[in-house]
């Protein structure tokens, strides 16, 4: 996986192209959701506690499971914003998934776009698994600069 900062930054940059309000945050949240649901419990339970949960949580890093998860999370929002929240979080989550498909794994692909109908995994092998670290500093500077610029415009009343 690219690191979470790269995922969040890509969500922010794409979301900002369409919206300039709270909806950007929904896309950004969606763009880190797959790793929140799989890597975070995986690292804590598998790496530190040595529980065999990788495959269990691996299922949540698939488009269908992410759609269900976004639907579940959408109930945290008021009814007025629920459907939009679901769609934007799902868009962010799918963007994350597509970015993950672009990288080259150590050996075989691990991401399963057709789950639960098939366990067939795929990858496009466009860049190395750690390549995201090279662009992270640039992305961080760009998003902080854009965020500051947007805030200035907002406070100026535009």
């Amino acid at each position: 996986m690219p690191d979470l900062l790269t995922h969040a930054a890509s969500g922010y940059l794409i979301g900002r192209g369409f919206y300039s309000d709270h909806r950007v945050a929904l896309i950004v949240f969606g763009s880190i959701l797959p790793d929140l649901m799989t890597r975070v419990p995986g690292i804590i339970l598998q790496r530190f506690l040595e529980l065999p949960v990788a495959h269990f949580f691996g299922a949540f890093h698939t488009p269908v499971a992410l759609a269900v998860a976004c639907y579940l999370i959408s109930f945290l929002f008021a009814q007025l914003h629920r459907q939009t929240s679901f769609l934007l979080m799902l868009a962010g989550a799918l963007l994350h998934f597509v970015l993950d498909l672009m990288q080259e794994q150590f050996y075989q692909p691990i991401y399963m776009p057709w789950f639960p109908f098939s366990f067939q995994a795929m990858q496009w092998s466009w860049f190395h698994i750690h390549a995201s670290l090279l662009v992270t500093p640039i992305l961080l500077i760009v998003i902080l600069w854009l965020w500051r610029k947007d805030n200035k415009l907002l406070s100026a009343g535009y």
């Binding site: 709270h22 945050a25 949240f29 949540f60 698939t62 639907y71 109930f75 008021a78 009814q79």
Partner: protein, 167 residues
Amino acid sequence: MFSDRYIPLKVLTSVIILLLFGAYSHQHGKSEDEIAIKAIRSCVTSPVSCVDQPLVIRIRTGNWSKGGLATAEVKAGSAYLSKHPIKVSRLVGKRSAGRIIDLLGSFDHTALFIVTRQREDDWIQTTKYLVSLAGLGLCLWFFTRLFNFSARWRLPLIPRQSKTNDA
């Protein structure tokens, strides 16, 4: 589908679907792992049966020869196959014992494991974790700046600017 009606039922159904997905994936992954472990065991105990067959293994390095060959124990499941150490060639990095490395490679006719690719928990992985933590923090900060809990009993999240309209 997104209305306030039957929310507990919708939430419960979603949770059950996710748990079933997890259980299904776990079951499938477990049987795949068993096949992989069996294959690793058979290749490590009898390398000539797996000549030129690509294999992904996790090893723990032991002694190194002057020619650059490492003796290593292969992990199969949760245990290392200490009784069947293998010789590894083309391993890059510090020549020390106790390194845990994931390898992609194959055995040759002399039972030597030739590495084509290796991966190790090094500073790059640690940096990636730290950068990811920073990303997570940044996201949560960004989200809390734009969303707020409303005052209603279920405390739904609402955008900060529409708080007065919705609460």
